[in-house]
C-alpha cells in the first residue's frame, strides 16, 4: 500500500488524506455523519467489480445508510436503469461549489451536508474538486471510495487492487468481515 497519488504527478500539498486502512473507518465515518451526500461520477457505471459495477455498491450503500445521491456527468441514466432515482442531477463542479457554501441547505433543503462521499469521477476532476473542498469547506469531511489514493480527500483508500477494493466495499456494506 502506498500513499502516492494514483497519477504520479498529482502531488498534493502539506495536507493529505488519511488512509482508510480498514473498511470500519469508512463505515464509521458514514455512520457518524448526520447529513452525508454521495457524489457519483460517470466511471462508476464502467468499473467492473466481478459481477457488479461500482454504481451497484453506491446504490446499496445509499439505501442502507440513507445517503442523498447526486449524479454527475450522465450517471443519472445508469442509476435509472437500475431502478434508483438520485436526489439530484448536476455537474460535479456545481455540487462542489455548493458544498463550499456553509449556508446551503443541501440537496434536500434540510441542512448543510457534513460528509461528501466521492466515487467514480475522472481522477483529476475528483482531485481538483476535493482540493476545492479541502481549502474552502472547513466544516465538511470528504471520503473517496475509489480504489486509488485521492490526496485531497479527508479520507481515501490507498492504491488498492480490485479484489481488495471489493472486500472493503462489501465490508462497508456489512456483508462481509473487513
Amino acid at each position: 500500500m502506498t500513499q502516492d497519488a494514483w497519477l504520479t504527478a498529482e502531488v498534493a500539498g502539506p495536507k493529505k488524506a488519511s488512509l482508510i486502512t480498514k473498511p470500519e473507518i469508512a463505515d464509521a465515518m458514514i455512520r457518524r455523519a448526520k447529513r452525508p451526500v454521495f457524489i457519483v461520477g460517470s466511471i462508476a457505471a464502467e468499473i467492473d467489480l466481478e459481477e457488479k459495477k461500482l454504481i451497484d455498491y453506491v446504490i446499496a450503500m445509499a439505501k442502507r445508510c440513507k445517503i442523498q445521491v447526486v449524479a454527475t456527468g450522465n450517471t443519472n441514466n445508469e442509476f435509472l436503469k437500475r431502478g434508483f432515482t438520485p436526489d439530484a442531477v448536476m455537474p460535479a463542479v456545481d455540487i462542489g461549489n455548493r458544498l463550499t457554501d456553509h449556508t446551503w441547505q443541501g440537496v434536500d433543503g434540510k441542512g448543510p451536508h457534513d460528509l461528501a462521499i466521492f466515487a467514480g469521477l475522472p481522477y483529476q476532476m475528483a482531485w481538483t474538486i476535493l482540493s476545492g473542498l479541502k481549502n474552502f469547506a472547513p466544516n465538511l469531511k470528504t471520503i473517496s471510495l475509489d480504489n486509488v489514493y485521492q490526496p485531497n480527500a479527508s479520507w481515501s483508500f490507498s492504491n488498492i487492487s480490485i479484489k481488495t477494493w471489493i472486500m472493503n466495499l462489501e465490508a462497508i456494506l456489512g456483508n462481509r468481515e473487513g
Binding site: L7, A12, N76, P91, D101, K134, F136
Partner: protein
C-alpha cells in the same frame, strides 16, 4: 483611421530667441479621422476602466477555486503553505493565489497571440508596406475589425494602423503581468477583473493577426465556400519529398509555398502541417495538407515520412529536435521565440546551409528570415528525400517487433499512472503481447500523444510506437476533407441571422474551439458539432477543434464539412480558421450588436458586452482545452458575457465561474423600458464550467444558450432542445425547468402536459420578458 508619423529635423534656424542647431522632434502618430461614429466612453481602456462591468459579472458568477497546488513558490519567502485560511509570507490568500495564477496563464496566452500578431504585422509591413489596405472581406464586410472598433475606438484601414493597436495590447499586457508580482494585487475579484481585461486584449490581438494575414496573403475573405482541403496522415503522397511545418505563425510556410510556385515545384513536393500553421497554410494554398492537431506530432515524425521539419512558434513539442535526430530528419527553427538551441544561420548563404543539412553535419539550423527558410526547406527536402526514402527510415514497428517489445512489459502500471487520461495501457500491452491488438488500438483512438507513458517506463519500451503499431491501419486510413478557414463573418450574414438569434429563434451559436487534450478522443467533439448543426444551431469552430471535427467520417465516408454548409447560418458548420481566427467568432457576436441592433461600437465595450450577454445565445466549448492561450481566449469570451464549457481536464485551470441557480436574488436585470428589476432566471447559468462527459456537455450547451431577451417562441425552442437532450442523454426531465419558463407561452407545445405539472409542483409564478440590461441606465453613455 489613417495614421502618419511626423518627424521634423532642422539643421539650423535663426529665430528671435536665438540660433537653434540640430533640432529634431517627432509627433509619433497623427490620426486622420475618417469615421464619424461618436466616440464611446472607454476607447483604449485602462485595466480598471471596465472594472464595474467585470464586477457585475463576477458578482453573479463567483469563482469556485480548485487549487491545483496548495503552495505558492513564486518568491524566496516561499514555499508558502496557503491551505485553508493560511496566508503566505506576503499576505496572499489561497483565493488570491489561484486568481493570480489564472491571471498569469491568461497573460501568457495573450502575450503569445500579441507577439505572434506583432511579428506577423512587422513582417507583412516589411513585405507589402504599411499603407497596405486591410481587406478581410471585400465588399461583404464594412465592419472590418469589430473588436478593434469596440475596444480601441478606432477604425483601422491599413497594416500600419494595426501597429497602434498592438502598441496598446503590449502596454496592457505588461501592466497586467506586473499585477502578479509579489506584494501587488491580492484581491481575488480584482485579479479576476484583470483576467477578463487580459482576455479582451487577447481577442484584440487575435483580430489584428488574422485580418493582417487575410489582407496581405489574400487568404479566404469571409468566404463561406472556402475550398475543401485534405487532412489526415493518409492524404500524403509519401513518394514525394515531404516538408512538415509545425506551429502557428505562417510566413515561413508561405515562403516555402511561394518558392515552390516560383520554381514550378508545386506538384513535386508535399507540404504538410500540424496545428494552426497547417490550417493557415491551407488557407493560403489548398494544395497544402494538414496532418492533424498537436497530438499528431510524435506519430507523424516517428513515421519517418517528413524529410524536413520546419517549426515556427507555439504548441510545438520542445523535444522535436530529439525526435527528429533519431531519424536524421533535419529541423529548421524560424522564430526567435523557439530557437531549439540551434546555431543561427540566418546570415549564411542558403546553399551552405543546405549542404550542412543534407550531409548531416548539423541537426538543424535557426533561420530567422522566412524567405530564406523557403529556399532552404524546399531544396533540402528535394535533395534529402531520395536517400531517405531509399533508407525507409522510420520507426513504425512491424507487428513482430511490436509484440516482442510488448513482451518486455513488467506490468508495473507506471505508464497508466503517467497517462493524463488514466488509460489502461499496461493491460492493453499485455493483451497485445498475446496477439490481441484490439485494446491497444482502442487506446490509439484516445491517445493525446504526450508520450508521458514512455518517460515513465523503466524498461524503456517505446509505448507510443506500440500504440501506433496497433492503430496503424486507422492511422494510414486517416484521409478526410476540411473546409479551409473562411475568416470573418460577412455583414450580410449578420443581418440575416441577427434577428433570429436575438429573438431566440435560432437556438444559439455554439463555438467548438481550443486544443486537443480530449478525455476520450476526438470523435466526441465531431459528434457534438454534428448534433448541434442538426439542431440548427450556428456551429462555429477553429484551430485544433476544427481539425478534429474534420477527422471524422459518416457511414458514407463524408466528413462534416462535406455535409454541412460553411455559411454563418442555422445548421451550418463554420470553420473560421486558426487560433487567431477565434476573434471572428467573438467579433460576430459584437457585429450583431452593431449591424443588427445598430448600437454604437466605438469605444463602447460595457454596453456592447451587456447587449451580447443578455441577447446573443452564444456558447463556447473548449473540449480539449490545454494551453494558456485557451485560457486567455476563454477570458475574452467571458468579458463579453459568453459562457465557456470545458472538458473534465478543464478543472485544472484552477477555478470555475459558476452561477447559483438557487439564489433567486442573483438573477434580476433592469428592464430598460420601465427601470424596474425583473427576475429572468439563471440565464446563462454559468460563465465557465467544466463538465465530465460529452453527454453532460451537450445538455449544458443547450441550457447555456438561453438569454433573458428570448422571445417566447425562442425560449420554447431552446427549452425543447434542453429538455430533449436532458431526457435522451441524462435519462430524465430536468428538475429546473420552472426557472426558465417566464410565461405559459414559453412552454414547448409538445411538452406542455409534463411541464405544466412541474410548474404546479414548484409553485411557479408568471413574470414578464424585459428589455434586459445589467447596467443601470445612468451608467449608459449614449
Amino acid at each position: 483611421m489613417g495614421t502618419k508619423e511626423i518627424n521634423i529635423s532642422i539643421k539650423e534656424i535663426e529665430t528671435e530667441i536665438g540660433n537653434i542647431k540640430d533640432l529634431r522632434f517627432s509627433v509619433g502618430r497623427l490620426a486622420q479621422e475618417t469615421w464619424d461614429e461618436p466616440q464611446g466612453p472607454t476607447p483604449f481602456p485602462s485595466m480598471t476602466a471596465l472594472r464595474n462591468w467585470d464586477l457585475t459579472l463576477l458578482n453573479r458568477y463567483k469563482p469556485f477555486y480548485l487549487p491545483f497546488c496548495d503552495l505558492c513558490c513564486l518568491c524566496t519567502f516561499g514555499k508558502c503553505d496557503l491551505t485553508g485560511d493560511k496566508k503566505g509570507a506576503c499576505g496572499i490568500t489561497m483565493p488570491g493565489q489561484q486568481s493570480r495564477i489564472v491571471l498569469l496563464a491568461a497573460c501568457i496566452g495573450a502575450a503569445t497571440h500579441t507577439s505572434h500578431a506583432r511579428e506577423l504585422v512587422t513582417h507583412l509591413i516589411e513585405e507589402f508596406g504599411s499603407d497596405t489596405r486591410l481587406d478581410p472581406g471585400g465588399l461583404n464586410i464594412k465592419v472590418e475589425a469589430p473588436i478593434t472598433r469596440l475596444v480601441c475606438g478606432m477604425k483601422p484601414e491599413t497594416l500600419g494602423d494595426l501597429e497602434t493597436v498592438l502598441d496598446y495590447s503590449e502596454q496592457q499586457i505588461t501592466s497586467l503581468l506586473a499585477c502578479t508580482h509579489t506584494g501587488q494585487e491580492g484581491n481575488p475579484l480584482d485579479l479576476e477583473s484583470k483576467v477578463l481585461h487580459t482576455g479582451m486584449i487577447d481577442h484584440l490581438s487575435m483580430e489584428v493577426a488574422d485580418i493582417a494575414q487575410v489582407s496581405a496573403y489574400d487568404l479566404p475573405k469571409a468566404d463561406p465556400n472556402a475550398p475543401l482541403v485534405d487532412i489526415g496522415f493518409g492524404s500524403v503522397d509519401t513518394t514525394k519529398p515531404v516538408i512538415l511545418v509545425i506551429g502557428h505563425n505562417v510566413p515561413p510556410s508561405v515562403e516555402i509555398m511561394d518558392y515552390m510556385q516560383d520554381n514550378e515545384l508545386t506538384g513535386d513536393i508535399e507540404v504538410t502541417g500540424i496545428c494552426c500553421t497547417g490550417i493557415d497554410m491551407t488557407r493560403y494554398s489548398p494544395k497544402a495538407k494538414i496532418i492533424g492537431p498537436i497530438s499528431w506530432q510524435i506519430r507523424y515524425i516517428r513515421s519517418g515520412i517528413p524529410d524536413i521539419i520546419v517549426v515556427d512558434e507555439q504548441c510545438i513539442r520542445t523535444d522535436v529536435l530529439d525526435e527528429a535526430r533519431v531519424l536524421k530528419i533535419p529541423v529548421i527553427a524560424t522564430s526567435g521565440k523557439n530557437c531549439l538551441g540551434l546555431t543561427d544561420r540566418t546570415g549564411d548563404p542558403p546553399d551552405e546551409i543546405i549542404d550542412d543539412l543534407v550531409s548531416g553535419t548539423i541537426d538543424g539550423a535557426l533561420i530567422l528570415d522566412p524567405e530564406k527558410v523557403g529556399v532552404v526547406a524546399v531544396k533540402t527536402a528535394m535533395e534529402i528525400a531520395p536517400r531517405r526514402k531509399k533508407d525507409k527510415k522510420g520507426i513504425f514497428l512491424s507487428h513482430e517487433e511490436a509484440i516482442e517489445l510488448a513482451k518486455q512489459c513488467t506490468q508495473c502500471r507506471e505508464c497508466r499512472r503517467a497517462c493524463p487520461n488514466d488509460m489502461h495501457i499496461s493491460d492493453a500491452i499485455k493483451a497485445f503481447s498475446r496477439e490481441d491488438p484490439a485494446m491497444l488500438a482502442e487506446i490509439y483512438d484516445s491517445c493525446v500523444g504526450c508520450i508521458r507513458c514512455e518517460s515513465a517506463c523503466s524498461e524503456e519500451i517505446p509505448i507510443h510506437s506500440l500504440i501506433v503499431a496497433a492503430g496503424e491501419d486507422t492511422l494510414r486510413n486517416e484521409a478526410f476533407r476540411l473546409r479551409a478557414g473562411r475568416g470573418a463573418i460577412q455583414d450580410i450574414e449578420i443581418r440575416q441571422v441577427g434577428g433570429p438569434i436575438v429573438l431566440g429563434e435560432i437556438p444559439g451559436i455554439v463555438a467548438f474551439v481550443g486544443c486537443a487534450n480530449y478525455p476520450k478522443g476526438g470523435n466526441e467533439l465531431a459528434e457534438m458539432a454534428i448534433e448541434f448543426a442538426n439542431r440548427r444551431f450556428i456551429t462555429c469552430t477553429s484551430g485544433c477543434a476544427a481539425m478534429t471535427i474534420g477527422m471524422y467520417k459518416n457511414e458514407d465516408g463524408k466528413s462534416p464539412y462535406e455535409i454541412y454548409p460553411g455559411n454563418f447560418e442555422a445548421g451550418a458548420i463554420v470553420n473560421v480558421g486558426s487560433c487567431v481566427s477565434n476573434a471572428h467568432i467573438s467579433g460576430a457576436a459584437v457585429k450583431i450588436a452593431s449591424i443588427f441592433a445598430r448600437r454604437n461600437l466605438r469605444g463602447n465595450y460595457a454596453e456592447i458586452a451587456d447587449y451580447v450577454y443578455n441577447r446573443v445565445g452564444a456558447v463556447g466549448v473548449a473540449w480539449g482545452a490545454m494551453s494558456q492561450k485557451a485560457a486567455s481566449i476563454a477570458a475574452g469570451f467571458w468579458r463579453l458575457g459568453i459562457p465557456v464549457i470545458v472538458g473534465p481536464h478543464g478543472t485544472k485551470y484552477r477555478r470555475m465561474l459558476l452561477g447559483r441557480a438557487d439564489h433567486d436574488e442573483d438573477w434580476y436585470v433592469e428592464d430598460a423600458r420601465t427601470n424596474e428589476k425583473v427576475y429572468v432566471g439563471p440565464v446563462p447559468e454559468h460563465l465557465f464550467i467544466s463538465v465530465e462527459t460529452k453527454e453532460e456537455a451537450m445538455v449544458m450547451i443547450a441550457k447555456l444558450s438561453m438569454r433573458p431577451n428570448d422571445t417566447s417562441r425562442g425560449r420554447a425552442l431552446k427549452l425543447t432542445h434542453y429538455i430533449d437532450l436532458h431526457r435522451r442523454l441524462l435519462g430524465s426531465m430536468p428538475t429546473d425547468i420552472h426557472r426558465f419558463v417566464r410565461m405559459e407561452a414559453d412552454i414547448p407545445i409538445t411538452m406542455k402536459e409534463d411541464i405544466v405539472a412541474i410548474l404546479q409542483e414548484k409553485d411557479w409564478k408568471e413574470t414578464v420578458i424585459p428589455d434586459p440590461t445589467l447596467i443601470p441606465k445612468k451608467e449608459v453613455v449614449q
